[in-house]
């Protein structure tokens, strides 16, 4: 079931205009210019300034001298190996070539051909299905559905049996973005870079896309279809048209001038595909209404060239294409239907709201069905396209009438339907749509975890802390989730950060202050609201209170109470406002490292009673907004930062002497408690052992790209969202093979 446009451009534009005009900039001009008064454009410096002023020396001279001293010290004693502070750097010569941080091991290819399901060992801890995103019927009349959680469901309308498969059962179920019926039974599961033919028992075929497709998301599959001869056609998001015959792919990309959307056409994207009985692919291209006048279109490849038909009514989106018995094609657009016979484009009227129809699920014989108003106020009628017109089919009460619905004809004349936003599978029984299967709400409440990167804290394989949609903190322990407010008297108070102490204790910071978890309850040690907390090896808590712009404190236990001590004011050139403090860590020498996000962001270090901030152009831009900061077991400081002139995160490692910009294979970076690194990527968690990146788990595309956390026992958890960014889940990965 494709997503229909139920939100008009007009409504979207009106909402955005209203949102944008809700407030006036007020004193923004004056405020901004006043801030400019307090600063000057930066000049480029060549190195990180040391924390001790040395009058008359340039920064470069200072660093060179410091390096020479360190090299001498290293020659005298190996004891300095492991020293991590800026001014006691490790004996790494400055001319040592930087490590190649981009080494990756190749991803093991999918085993091609038939195979049994291969359980991944990945467990899904949070997964509450909300609705079904796809419904198709295969050649045997079995209904196949995809949950918004990513699980694949097989529903037999005769026996009312339902089976489902998740990522735990095979990587295919952790990576499926579309479901299309297979002509010989079962379904094709379409992932970003692979297709799997699944029949309910095993993988009958697995196909990878060509290896030379672009690495970015533009090279991922957008649509795919199986031809009558069993070959596959697919189109990437960038518009590359692929045809797989036998074991090899060939390209049939429409050339510029053909009328189809070329790969270089910025306003077009592939949104539908069908292959007719003659084996010709028909591709629907949707457009964004800029530049004006570029309508949606359909292209057909006849074996030698392309013919392109543009929508004469200038609509934007082709939702599906299906072949009719007379060889014509029915095109479902965002605003109606059209019939294409190869030389003409004919509008098809409908006596129902086309917006409720999601017709990307034609029956195996090509029949398309839509739902519309019934003859009674409380009934819904199914309309069938007979090749020329929409004709009324069956009718029944009980199907929600206020949302788009998909209906397919299934076994023995039965009809199965799903409605967007509902976790119910309906089946027509006489004149009523009866719920044939409904997801039972979990007996024990589960958190709704947002996909916006809120902290996740793994304590062990069986214990986890997560911050929910409403800001409450949830505890996973003993196989169940419970909400554990810092102050039970204020269950609605928000928690902003969680941290792990070296002794394995969980700490939290939020509206109700700073607390640690002991004996099944939070022990509050400071009632001032705080938004960041971290623990050093001595058990001192370092927190940022939220009462003023930069308000760093330490909380130290004297054996009977916790003593708060403020740190001196933050460096003036460090914009440590609440919420901009994106990373805080204490190294084993007691130095506090702070990463500030936002623009003008920087890395700062508090040691020996003074602040030092980076102000160098040797890798880490002066104004890098730091988003992640951590210290590895080896003592290296790692940051993930967003440079102002680049759209993607970059990473840098400070090894005691200099910053080296690294380029992990994408995604957010986290530190393993053992000091190694992990990155959340489109191919699953990637691990960096100090030498190279590896992918220790099966390649799964979702949801591991969002956030990882690693427990001290080595268990990796991933928090992610489905492709529509709404449903979230937490995956627990198995221990990697030794």
């Amino acid at each position: 079931m494709s997503t229909h446009v139920v939100i008009s451009d007009a409504a979207l534009e009106a909402m955005l205009a209203r949102r944008a005009n809700r407030a006036d900039p007020g004193s923004l001009h004056d405020d901004a210019f006043a801030r400019l008064d307090a600063t000057e454009p930066r000049r480029h410096l060549l190195a990180w300034p040391v924390s001790v002023a040395r009058g008359g020396w340039s920064a470069r001279q200072v660093v060179l001298v410091a390096a020479a001293m360190l090299l001498l010290a290293a020659a005298v004693s190996g004891a300095l190996i492991g020293a991590r502070l800026l001014d006691q750097a490790r004996p790494v010569p400055f001319d040592t070539p930087p490590q190649n941080l981009n080494d990756t091991t190749p991803v093991a290819p999918f085993r091609l051909g038939p195979r049994a399901l291969a359980p991944t060992g990945i467990e899904v801890l949070v997964s509450v299905p909300g609705w079904y995103t796809h419904l198709v019927a295969d050649g045997e009349g079995i209904a196949w559905l995809r949950e918004d959680t990513g699980a694949i469901v097989r529903f037999d309308p005769l026996t009312h049996t339902r089976q489902s498969w998740s990522v735990a059962d095979d990587v295919a179920f952790g990576s499926t973005e579309q479901v299309i019926p297979a002509r010989s039974g079962g379904v094709w599961l379409v992932g970003q870079r692979a297709l799997w033919w699944f029949d309910g028992e095993g993988i009958r075929d697995a196909v990878e896309t060509p290896a030379d497709l672009p690495a970015g998301s533009g090279g991922n599959l957008a649509v795919a279809a199986e031809a009558p001869d069993g070959t596959l056609w697919a189109v990437t998001r960038d518009g590359a048209v692929l045809h797989r015959e036998g074991a090899s792919w060939s390209r049939r990309t429409a050339p510029p001038g053909s009328g189809a959307c070329a790969q270089s056409d910025a306003s077009c994207f592939p949104s539908a595909i069908a292959v007719d009985r003659a084996g010709r692919p028909w591709i629907g291209w949707s457009v964004y209404p800029d530049p004006p006048g570029a309508p949606a279109r359909v292209s057909r490849y006849d074996g030698t060239g392309w013919i392109t038909l543009e929508d004469p009514l200038g609509r934007n989106e082709v939702l599906s294409i299906s072949e009719q018995t007379d060889g014509s094609m029915l095109v479902d657009l965002d605003d109606g239907f059209a019939r294409l016979d190869g030389s003409s484009w004919t509008e098809v009227p409908a006596d129902f709201d086309p917006g409720r129809c999601t017709s990307d699920a034609p029956d195996p014989d090509g029949t398309v069905r839509c739902v519309g108003p019934g003859t009674r106020p409380d009934s819904v009628r199914v309309f069938r396209f007979d090749g020329r017109t929409w004709v009324p089919d069956v009718e029944g009460r009980g199907l929600p009438a206020d949302a788009p619905a998909t209906v397919v004809a299934a076994r023995a004349g039965s009809y199965v339907a799903v409605v967007e936003g509902s976790p119910v599978i309906y089946q027509l029984a006489g004149d009523r749509w009866e719920p044939a299967w409904e997801v039972t709400p979990p007996a024990v409440p589960r958190p709704r975890i947002p996909g916006d990167g809120r902290p996740l804290l793994a304590i062990s394989r069986d214990e986890l802390w997560a911050i929910g949609q409403d800001g409450g903190i949830w505890h996973f322990s003993g196989g169940a989730w419970t909400m554990e407010a810092i102050d039970p008297a204020h269950p609605g108070s928000k928690v902003w950060d969680v941290a792990l102490a070296p002794d394995g204790t969980a700490w939290a910071a939020g509206e109700d202050g700073v607390a640690y978890w002991r004996d099944g309850r939070w022990v509050v040690i400071d009632t001032e609201p705080a938004n960041v907390v971290t623990l050093d090896r001595d058990g001192t808590a370092w927190v940022n209170r939220t009462g003023s712009a930069c308000d760093l404190w330490t909380l130290r236990s004297n054996g009977t109470t916790w003593v708060p001590t403020p740190l001196p004011a933050c460096p003036r050139n460090l914009p440590l406002r609440p919420g901009f403090l994106n990373g805080i860590a204490v190294d084993d020498r007691g130095a506090l490292w702070v990463g500030a996000g936002g623009y003008g962001g920087a890395v700062a270090r508090w040691a020996e009673g003074r602040w030092a901030t980076n102000d160098a152009s040797d890798g880490v831009p002066n104004n890098a907004g730091v988003e992640v900061l951590g210290i590895s077991a080896a003592g290296d400081v790692w940051i993930g930062f967003r440079p102002p002139d680049h759209g993607a995160n970059e990473y840098a490692r400070f090894d005691g002497t200099e910053w080296k910009v690294a380029d992990p294979p994408g995604g957010d970076l986290v530190l393993d408690p053992d000091g190694s690194l992990w990155a959340a990527t489109d191919r699953g968690p990637a691990h960096y052992d100090g030498q190279k990146w590896t992918f220790p788990y099966p390649s799964v595309s979702s949801p591991t790209r969002v956030l990882l956390t690693v427990a001290p026992d080595g268990t990796v958890f991933a928090l992610g969202t489905s492709t529509d960014f709404m449903a979230t889940s937490i995956w627990r990965f198995p221990a990697p093979a030794p």
């Binding site: 229909h4 998001r237 919420g579 994106n582 003008g600 967003r642 529509d724 960014f725 709404m726």
Partner: protein, 223 residues
């Protein structure tokens, strides 16, 4: 949004030529079309950039003076909170001023500033979950002169704007950003790709995903 069946139930045989049945953006119709953030590049503007790089504050202010308000409104559309929009716009300005010497090509100033601003929005959006600021939501009261039927066949099916805005607020920031750039700033995919530094294909897909996600969010909002 679909038009009514009656309006389009005709045959357009052989009509493969592009037609220009295009509705004016609603934003223009209701008088809230955003001012283009960036003025056309003029030689004098490049000179201003050069002077600003040399530390000329007045030149810098002239460069950004007319940029501030539309930038603030863009940030407000993305972030939804006035304080965040203020912060993001101020941060972007300050950052641009502090680092203008790193800008090598004066002709790229507008795109450079635009990217700084969007990144500042992203940062402001990320920190929202960690702040103690509570903002009371203001429900929208339709403007009296806002036409009920904005386009034929549209108004009667328009989603309630309050619901739609709540749904919009549930989207991930990157999705919100591309929707604002495309549907409010009326930027092309190519322009969005340039300002975000992301391939066009990604932008196209992200727009597609954003619309789908918004639809689902709206459904969720109505449940």
């Amino acid at each position: 949004m679909r038009q009514s069946t009656e309006e389009r139930a005709t045959t357009a045989g052989g009509g493969f030529a592009a037609v220009s049945v295009r509705d004016e953006p609603l934003a223009a119709a209701v008088g809230v079309l955003p001012t283009p953030i960036f003025e056309p590049q003029l030689p004098a503007r490049a000179d201003l950039v050069r002077r600003a790089r040399e530390g000329d504050r007045i030149a810098f202010e002239r460069l950004v003076d007319r940029w501030i308000e539309p930038a603030f409104r863009t940030a407000l559309a993305i972030l939804g909170r006035e304080a965040d929009a203020h912060d993001a716009t101020q941060d972007a300005l300050l950052d641009a001023w502090r680092n203008i010497r790193q800008l090598r090509d004066p002709e790229r100033f507008d795109a450079w500033l635009g990217r700084i601003h969007l990144n500042a929005c992203r940062t402001a959006g990320r920190r929202r979950g960690r702040t103690t600021v509570h903002e009371i939501s203001v429900s929208f009261i339709p403007e009296p002169d806002e036409p009920a039927g904005r386009r034929p066949g549209v108004a009667e099916e328009s989603a309630d704007l309050d619901e739609l805005e709540r749904a919009f607020g549930r989207l991930a920031l990157p999705l919100r950003t591309v929707l604002v750039l495309h549907h409010w700033q009326r930027r092309s995919v190519e322009e969005i790709a340039a300002v975000l530094g992301i391939p066009q294909g990604t932008i196209k897909w992200r727009l597609h995903e954003a619309r789908a996600a918004l639809t689902r969010a709206l459904e969720e909002e109505r449940r």
